[in-house]
Amino acid sequence: MDSSVHLDNVVMEFGDFTAIQKTDLKIESGEFFSFLGPSGCGKTTILNMISGFLDPTHGDVKIGGQGMRGVPANKRPTSMIFQNLALFPLMTVAENIEFGLEVRGVSKGERKKASDRLLELVALEGSGTKKVSELSGGQKQRIAIARALAVEPQVLLLDEPLSALDLKLRQHMRIELKEIQRKTGITFIYITHDQGEALTMSDRVAVMSAGKIQQVADPITLYRDPKTAFVASFVGENNGIKGCVTQLNNGIADLDCGVLGHLQGRVQSGVNVGDNATLFIRPEHFRLAAENNMLTIPSAIEEVNFEGSYLTLNANTQAQTSLSIQLGSHQYTDSLVKGAPVSLSYRAEDAVVIGGADHV
């Protein structure tokens, strides 16, 4: 079955405010797709457009190729898991799961079968007669999933469903969600401000900022080849150094970074000699000693934090900018103290140059 979701040139305006700028995006059938962005970036608005709680001002949402304009939420082949889960407090667990079938007029016996099967899927067999208030946070989470799956949606919409859980449970539920998605083969559309969730579970991620999709890519590409300064600094940690492009050579750009001298990094299309640009280097790509073909930034250690399996450093450059560095903890030595000079080195192919210095 085609359960793709196509945001066909949608625009969402609330009065004078444009919540979603013109967006054209196709989410494939059976894909685990995430929208990642800070709060207020418009990701919830997108979810509401797909679920049918909102209709876009322009354009249309197509599910399985069908235009959805004017189709209300209760008639769409989607179901949603809410941030606060929204389990019905006055119903039992089984009644919650069966609710969607009940309103469709499915017989009692069929409903019972379905809820038993779903309780098994979420590993909560025999909990059907419990009250919602008797469940733990993680169990509530699973019931919410079971309830949403009971109506056999083509697309499951998840609105930050893990945000209420504690860290351990959250990490566990990530694996479980991914597993359920694999078993059911339904398209999952996931909304989160937590990049860890987006990167670990998703096939593809759309990073959003201020009502605009910045980049759509699989997690590894997103991390390695951010297209915009926003993505570079929002996804993972990053150090940005501003400069002016002086040379372009085989996909490597040379930047004049003032007192820091000339630094280099990988460059994508759309950057020309003479442009302002920002060089992004991830903390884990720094080394403390220069090796072959490495570029160095002379700095002084400002702060050292030992975090167990790794250690983080803050260093001040001659340009008075602060860089953060992450090293494996086996690299710790007694010489790493405040004020000690270090030659921070990196490979040009590990750094990314993105046009426009005013973003950061």
Binding site: N74, K75, A86, F88, L90, F99, G100, V151
Partner: protein
Amino acid sequence: MKSETILRWSVRFYIGVFFLYLFTPLIIMGLATFNDSRFPTVSPWKGFTLKWFSALAEDDAMWHALWISVIVAVGVLVVAVPIGICCALFLSTFQGRGKTFLYSLMMSPLLTPGVIVGISTLIFWKGLSVSGGVMLTVIAQTTFIAAYVMLMVLARLQRFDRTLENAALSLGATQWQAFRRILLPYLKPAIISAAGIAFLQSFENYNTTLFVKGYDTTLTVYIASKVRTGLTPAVNALGLVMISITVILAIVYEVKRRREQSIHS
């Protein structure tokens, strides 16, 4: 520290006097029922009797008035509760210009003296050639009792999580199903309480009823007329019975309400 102690004891004394003030009248009224005196009093005490209860039981006019009161109260319940619920639903849904005005308008019957509610109803329906009686009493009482119902339902509605409705819709329920299966069960305790209050308010009402009752005397109006003409301790007997019933109901209601509150908090 010493002045604190004095303060504390004077507060306690005040509280004691206050509750004495609150309950003495009711107790004296109750006691007067059993006094074998032609006139309701406790001084002088002329001996214990139960005859006023049997006098009450034989009072046909009283039984008729009680019947009228019940009919009116049920009528008010049937009309005022749905209106109050509708107003609460409206206020919890509608956002925009005019909401404060409408809210004030809906509250206004509670801030209007009861006699005026009665008078305006009487005049309005006179124009439609309807004169006082059970029907006008129901209408006049509904005017302000609906506002009580609205406040009680609204109080609960304001704690309702509207994503529950969205969840129901997202699972394929129609708006009616979401209302029927999710919102209404949630509101049920408040609706039951409001219905109880509406019934009681109607039963007790005097100021409004007096103007619209026509020839249909309710129990409260009957008691008032008895106090002014032909007062005997039979009125006390009636009062004692009514107080006993209301006190029992009040305690049951309060205990139930507290229990529910402690479960939810």
